[in-house]
């Protein structure tokens, strides 16, 4: 590693991208930019068009309209694409081929020295598993092998589709550190998709949120956080919840009851504790229930799920926001 790390910075630009499968509009008029030196989260519920967008970005699917470019050049027109872009899509390898041989196949195809295979195996921590059949790898090892394949050309851009799927907590921890290292210390452009904000919250610097194939929000994490402060909910327990509910409602918070618990939106735990103390109400438990970020993400993407199940206890359509 290290040769191309500081050489080129590549900006990814998506403009007016659209794609339909029969009557279903998978992606419509989608546009966003991915900046070098940062990790950008590509977020949205399942079926929002994330994978289709990434596959169009990589020239695997043909857009009906629009462009996706790397410093102005579409993927298919890049002279040696693996030297510019590394991609982790679904984990794909022949089960009977060893991980090392899998990598060497793509070294040959791209005209890279075969020694790159061993180098990337070391980078992702698979050196010992390299000579073994890839069919015997665990889900986490498969993800690492897919990542190793993406790193073969030492590319300035990395595109990863749900890379945390199947990783254990330790693997997710490792992946976070690895992606941040690639972006922040090596100046690469990293685009990572996920359907969970909480999964990438600690990794990404910027987010591109999509729903039903359309752009919902493109923002930095700071921007998202500043809009999210106070947006979370707080769980309160105690013997006098009816009285506390009245106090909080009077103070302008919205309150909902279930099983004697109180879920409060629009107030921080500190504010609720202050109101309770002033009114002399005894509390047994007071803790954040959902983070403001999660709440914002739910609100932004609500109603855009393709196959949403009705929420428990409601027989009608899914609630707009929790």
């Amino acid at each position: 590693m290290g040769s191309a790390t500081t050489a080129t910075s590549v900006r990814v630009e998506v403009r007016g991208l659209s794609k339909s499968f029969g009557p279903v509009k998978a992606v419509s008029d989608l546009g966003f930019t991915v900046e070098p030196g940062s990790v950008t989260g590509f977020l949205g519920p399942n079926g929002a068009g994330k994978t289709t967008t990434l596959r169009m970005l990589l020239g695997l699917e043909r857009p009906d309209a629009g462009t996706a470019t790397f410093n102005g050049t579409p993927y298919a027109a890049l002279p040696k694409p693996v030297l510019t872009v590394g991609a982790v899509l679904e984990t794909a390898f022949h089960p009977a081929r060893s991980g090392r041989n899998h990598l060497r196949v793509y070294c040959r195809a791209a005209g890279l020295p075969l020694s790159r295979a061993d180098e990337v195996l070391t980078e992702v921590g698979l050196t010992d598993a390299g000579p073994r059949r890839a069919g015997g790898y665990s889900l986490g090892m498969r993800q690492r092998l897919a990542l190793a394949t993406a790193l073969l050309g030492d590319p300035p851009v990395l595109v990863l589709d749900e890379p945390a799927n199947g990783l254990d907590p330790e693997g997710i921890q490792w992946l976070r550190g690895f992606l941040r290292h690639l972006a922040h210390e090596q100046g690469r452009t990293v685009l990572v998709s996920s359907h969970l904000l909480s999964e990438v919250e600690q990794t990404v610097d910027r987010v591109v949120i999509v729903g039903a194939g359309q752009l919902i929000r493109e923002a930095s994490m700071e921007q998202l956080r500043s809009g999210a402060s106070g947006a979370g909910t707080v769980l309160v327990r105690g013997p006098e919840m009816d009285r506390l509910a009245d106090v909080l409602t009077a103070a302008g918070s919205s309150v909902s009851r279930s099983d004697g618990d109180l879920t409060v939106a629009g107030s921080t735990p500190a504010e609720i504790g202050h109101h309770a103390f002033s009114a002399g109400i005894e509390l047994h438990e007071l803790r954040p229930h959902t983070s403001g970020l999660e709440e914002i993400y739910f609100q932004l993407t609500a109603g855009t799920e393709q196959y949403a199940a009705p929420s428990p206890g409601s027989t009608s359509a899914p609630e707009a926001a929790r």
Binding site: A92, H94, R108, A109
Partner: protein, 254 residues
């Protein structure tokens, strides 16, 4: 292009499919050679069966045996192409070379070239068995120009079938469907066409008819001349390759 072909050979030789198919083809070629030689000259139900050892007809038959293993080379080509879709390696393959036509062409050439040593081994097994067994029965064939031509034509059939296999694989993409389809075509459709009088005339234009034209020296007015059969078979290989390439270039990789 050379690097893409190297990648194809690396893919082929890092799994063990090729060993099984090559051994299968050798066993088949050796087995049929022994069977034909053993039965040569015997009458079957009062009808003349396989021509006797020592006759030119017998030698042509025995030296065209390698062409009967063409189905295994066809499967080699089919697997070579369809495994990309079956194991989803088409994605990294087309990411490495987004000009998909080049990938398919590299695969076609790589499989045509790899089929040459395969064909040589299969032909060698056939020659070995025929020489020893027919020699033991009194008349080992000479490697005359005519016999060498038959052997060469048999080997060429094998190479072309590997190319057709890659083309069929690119066309159908589903490995099981492609193999089953090819088997049904070769062992059900063609025999029916050649057996039904009204449509028998069409048989000489089919791949099976072309193979027969290339490898049999019998006076057979219903077949094409050997060189015409060779061109026809090559044509089938190229058409399969061309259609397969066009489809792979246009379709989304899924």
């Amino acid at each position: 292009m050379i690097s893409l072909m190297r990648a194809e050979w690396a893919k082929l030789f890092t799994t063990r499919v090729w060993i099984g198919l090559l051994i299968g083809a050798c066993v088949m070629a050796g087995g049929f050679a022994a069977l034909f030689t053993g039965l040569a000259g015997q009458e079957q139900n009062g009808q003349p069966g396989i021509p006797a050892v020592g006759t030119q007809q017998y030698e042509t038959l025995a030296f065209s045996v390698p062409a009967n293993t063409s189905v295994l080379l066809l499967i080699l080509g089919v697997i070579g192409m369809t495994q990309e879709y079956r194991h989803r390696t088409a994605t990294p393959t087309f990411l490495t070379e987004p000009r998909r036509g080049r990938v398919i062409i590299a695969k076609l050439i790589a499989y045509a070239l790899v089929a040459v040593p395969f064909a040589l081994v299969i032909v060698a097994v056939d020659v070995l068995v025929v020489m020893i067994y027919a020699g033991a029965r009194g008349a080992a064939p000479s490697l005359s120009a005519g016999n060498l031509q038959t052997l060469g034509a048999s080997g060429l059939v094998l190479v072309v079938f590997a190319v057709i296999g890659v083309g069929v694989g690119a066309l159908l993409r589903n490995q099981v469907a492609a193999i089953v389809g090819a088997l049904v075509y070769l062992y059900v459709v063609e025999p029916i066409v050649s057996g039904i009088g009204a449509i028998q005339a069409a048989y000489k234009w089919l791949p099976g008819g072309a193979v027969q034209a290339m490898t049999s020296d019998f006076q057979a007015p219903e077949l094409l001349r050997p060189w015409q059969g060779g061109l026809l078979l090559l044509g089938y290989g190229l058409v399969a390759a061309l259609v397969g390439t066009l489809i792979a270039v246009r379709r989304d990789v899924t």
